[in-house]
């Protein structure tokens, strides 16, 4: 590292009560490839959004090329300083062509002949990074499969017009690429770095990180906890740096486990997202984990079970969302209404919902879940995130459902709440309820009787409680990592 390309100093960022970044300092040299790893929610994406100017930091300084930046750091400031970002969720306009999407990020592509220039630019960069890509610059994005969209967006980030490229941030760039194209990208990154451009690479594929980066920073709980040259890391030390030392919360009760596995089957379903895959089987009273990297088909599995397509289900279902805002909460309603919506049928008398019964049910679950509010008739948004999540648990558990599907429900929830909820889940399972629990947090798998590890939409391993170690799960998740 000879010269600093960009530097963050003590950057903090909060979302409401959640502390996404707790004072991060980061330096990227010009011509350096920096790897950034950490579990979900460690703050990697927030940090990248701040670098790209789409989020502003609550606190901290940003320096470019050694000089401290004064004034508001914004999208346009980042752009004119040659910073480009490939976000995890794609940022292309689906109704535009590849070339038109290139035009979107280049203010200078206008006037006579802009079309040809941006077509040439797009095609040249695609050819350079992904030889044999099979993408036409006039193809509409919505006509391209997801993998090619990602290739188009990556190529777009490296296109060059009037502003020299200083830093390109790639957030999980290979998540939709096949092994060949992923390798093409990693090779290209090395050649770019050799030319003096800096790259920040964020990936769950540790093999990619170890093989491509010069230096690796490990993030945890909104902080950078470890930083070493890539050569000083190997897969084990990296996992150790990312992970938490897990203490076993539960002593294994072999008798209970045996009893559970002999209970009648509650769910039998085969993932529709892959052709060659095992079945998911859950016995009554079991807690079944769905593990693996995020976005590898776990949520789709839950939705498949929920909509009872290609699945044998013996009991009523309830769903606990992880993405509270888009899948769970009814914003305009009180806490009580949010709890009872799944159970209204049982509160009917001559076709009308009995008010007392409804508030009774809400009060009962306020106590049982420990929802912290002075009044269940307050709007749901008066609750903290953790208590909103408890409300969603109460909604499902108050219902008649015998099977509870959980879509990584503890995302961004404080540890106190978590422990209370884990306790609740264990108790409900002993009472005969079946849980299917998609989780991205290793510790939570310790509460499961069994876990299925997902990779590319298929079940790649089924691990019993005693085999649920971080190493084994990661191994199953990465078994055919794209470039390892």
């Amino acid at each position: 590292m000879n010269q600093t390309a960009i530097k963050l100093d003590g950057v903090e960022r909060n979302f409401g009560a959640v502390r996404a970044l707790a004072g991060v300092s980061l330096e990227v040299g010009s011509g350096e490839c920096l790897g950034l790893v950490g579990h979900n929610g460690a703050g990697k994406s927030t940090l990248m959004h701040i670098l790209a100017g789409t989020l502003s930091p609550d606190k901290g300084e940003i320096s470019v090329g050694g000089a401290r930046h004064e004034g508001q750091w914004s999208v346009n400031v980042a752009r004119t300083n040659g910073i480009r970002c490939v976000f995890q969720e794609l940022s292309l306009c689906p109704n535009l062509t590849v070339a038109e999407n290139v035009r979107v990020v280049h203010g200078s592509l206008k006037g006579f002949g802009w079309k040809k220039r941006s077509r040439d630019l797009a095609l040249a960069k695609l050819d350079e990074i992904f030889p044999g890509h099979g993408i036409g610059p006039t193809d509409a994005i919505s006509d391209l499969p997801i993998g090619k969209r990602q290739m188009a967006e990556i190529a777009r980030a490296f296109t060059l017009t009037d502003i020299p490229l200083r830093l390109v941030i790639l957030d999980e760039p290979t998540s939709s690429l096949d092994a060949v194209t992923a390798q093409q990208l990693l090779t290209f990154i090395r050649s770019q770095v050799a030319k003096g451009t800096s790259v920040i690479l964020i990936s769950h594929l540790l093999g990619d990180i170890l093989g491509t980066c010069d230096r690796i920073v490990v993030m945890k709980d909104g902080k950078a906890v470890a930083e070493r040259p890539a050569k000083k890391f190997d897969r084990h030390s990296l996992v150790a740096a990312m992970g938490t030392v897990v203490s076993r919360h539960k002593s294994t009760d072999t008798k209970l486990e045996q009893a559970k596995s002999q209970a009648p089957v509650a769910i039998r379903a085969r993932p529709k997202t892959a052709s060659d895959t095992d079945e998911l089987i859950a016995h009554k009273g079991e807690i079944i984990g769905l593990a693996g990297l995020s976005g590898h088909g776990q949520t789709r599995m839950l939705l498949q079970v929920f909509s009872r397509s290609d699945a044998e289900i013996t009991e009523p279902l309830a769903f606990i969302a992880g993405d509270r805002q888009s899948d769970g909460i009814f914003n305009l309603w009180s806490i009580a209404s949010n709890v009872t919506i799944r159970s209204l049928r049982s509160l009917l008398k001559r076709g009308l919902i009995v008010g007392d019964a409804e508030s009774g049910l809400a009060a009962e679950w306020k106590d049982r879940m420990g929802i912290r509010t002075p009044d269940m008739n307050n709007n749901i948004l008066t609750l903290s995130g953790g208590n909103q999540q408890k409300t969603l648990f109460a909604r499902a558990l108050a219902s008649e459902a015998g099977i509870i599907l959980m879509d990584d429900p503890m995302r961004g929830v404080d540890i106190g709440t978590k422990l209370e909820v884990y306790e609740m889940i264990a108790r409900e399972a002993r009472n005969g309820r079946t849980f299917i629990w998609y989780t991205t947090e290793m510790e939570e798998l310790q509460y499961c009787d069994r876990a299925y590890v997902f990779r590319n939409g298929a079940i790649s391993a089924s691990l019993d409680h005693d085999d649920l170690t971080e190493e084994k799960i990661l191994q199953a998740s990465f078994a055919e990592s794209s470039a390892a």
């Binding site: 790209a52 789409t54 999208v75 346009n76 752009r79 976000f87 794609l90 940022s91 292309l92 306009c93 689906p94 109704n95 535009l96 038109e100 999407n101 035009r103 979107v104 990020v105 203010g107 592509l109 206008k110 006037g111 802009w114 079309k115 509409a140 919505s142 006509d143 499969p145 997801i146 969209r149």
Partner: protein
């Protein structure tokens, strides 16, 4: 690929079918004079449809374009007739008002349907104030433009094609057009790339206002006298025209040429139904049926965006 090709051809196929059916039912329409007569009103409808299309491009809807076209007619038949300078100024003010509404809708995140619904009352009210009962006079130059006799191909067809091509060029092939359509396709990504959505929306509304003014002028040139209510139906025509032309309400997917073709189809369908000697009772119903039929054809061709 094939499906998207078929989708883009659908407006032309619909037009060809309606045109063919008209010629079949009434062969005499297959002449310069016949076409001229049948498509007379296609020009103002096409212009109003283009105006609507600009609004739909940015995921909004304009329920006030019909009364606005009527208002423009009233201003032009009075103010523009007696005092061209003042009249021009008034029309420019109308366009500025459209831009301001676009900015207001964006900055306060308002539902465009409701705001433009209220706006339709305002336009109508101003029109009625200016011209309480039908009357006024179209400026001579306007009348002579609309009565233009072009050689071989009737004027309305030439005008419609020119309008379609110009807007097609501006929206689908210019570098500004990319930003405008991107604003409908993925507003968040556009903001991330550093574009001001406020400016884009205001510009699109201003363009809609401009084409609304053109529509009002051309309609007045045909009717020669104004009426506040003359274009009330244009709101519905313009929306239907955009959709018939392959546009979609959400996602910045529009086609200017398609919209013009959709407007032509609607104008023709009216004549066709008259020639078909469908009882006048069922005229409007048949229009509804045609609309449903075309949209039903579109349903299986609509690709679901995989990312959403």
């Amino acid at each position: 690929m094939n499906r998207s090709l078929l989708r883009s051809l659908l407006p032309i196929i619909s037009l060809a079918v309606v045109l063919g059916a008209t010629f079949y039912v009434q062969p005499r329409t297959m002449s310069y004079f016949g076409l001229n007569l049948m498509l007379q009103y296609a020009v103002p409808i096409a212009l109003a449809t283009i105006a609507q299309m600009f609004i739909i491009t940015v995921n909004d809807l304009d329920l006030s374009i019909g009364p606005f076209v009527g208002l423009v007619g009233c201003i032009s038949a009075t103010l523009l007739y007696s005092n061209p300078l003042l009249g021009t100024l008034a029309l420019l003010l109308c366009i500025a008002a459209y831009a301001a509404v676009g900015a207001l809708i964006h900055s306060r995140n308002l539902p465009s349907i409701v705001v433009t619904l209220g706006l339709s009352f305002v336009w109508l009210g101003i029109a009625v104030l200016i011209l309480p009962s039908p009357g006024g006079k179209a400026p001579e130059w306007l009348k002579s433009i609309m009565a233009l006799q072009t050689p071989f191909i009737p004027f309305p067809i030439i005008a419609a094609v020119v309008i379609g091509l110009v807007v097609q060029l501006a929206l689908m092939h210019s570098s500004f057009g990319v930003i405008a359509r991107g604003a409908g396709g993925n507003p968040r990504a556009m903001a991330r790339a550093g574009w001001s959505m406020l400016k884009t929306k205001a510009a699109m509304y201003a363009l809609a206002g401009f084409f609304g003014v053109l529509s009002g002028l051309s309609l007045l040139g045909l009717t020669t006298s104004a009426d506040a209510h003359v274009a009330d139906r244009y709101t519905l025509y313009s929306i239907a025209g955009v959709i018939l032309g392959g546009g979609e309400f959400i996602g910045g997917r529009v086609s200017p040429m398609g919209a013009v073709i959709g407007a032509l189809t609607l104008a023709l369908a009216g004549s066709f139904l008259i020639f078909l000697r469908i009882s006048p009772d069922w005229q409007i119903g048949a229009q509804g049926a045609i609309l449903i039929l075309v949209l039903a054809l579109k349903a299986p061709l609509t690709t679901r965006d995989a990312s959403k």
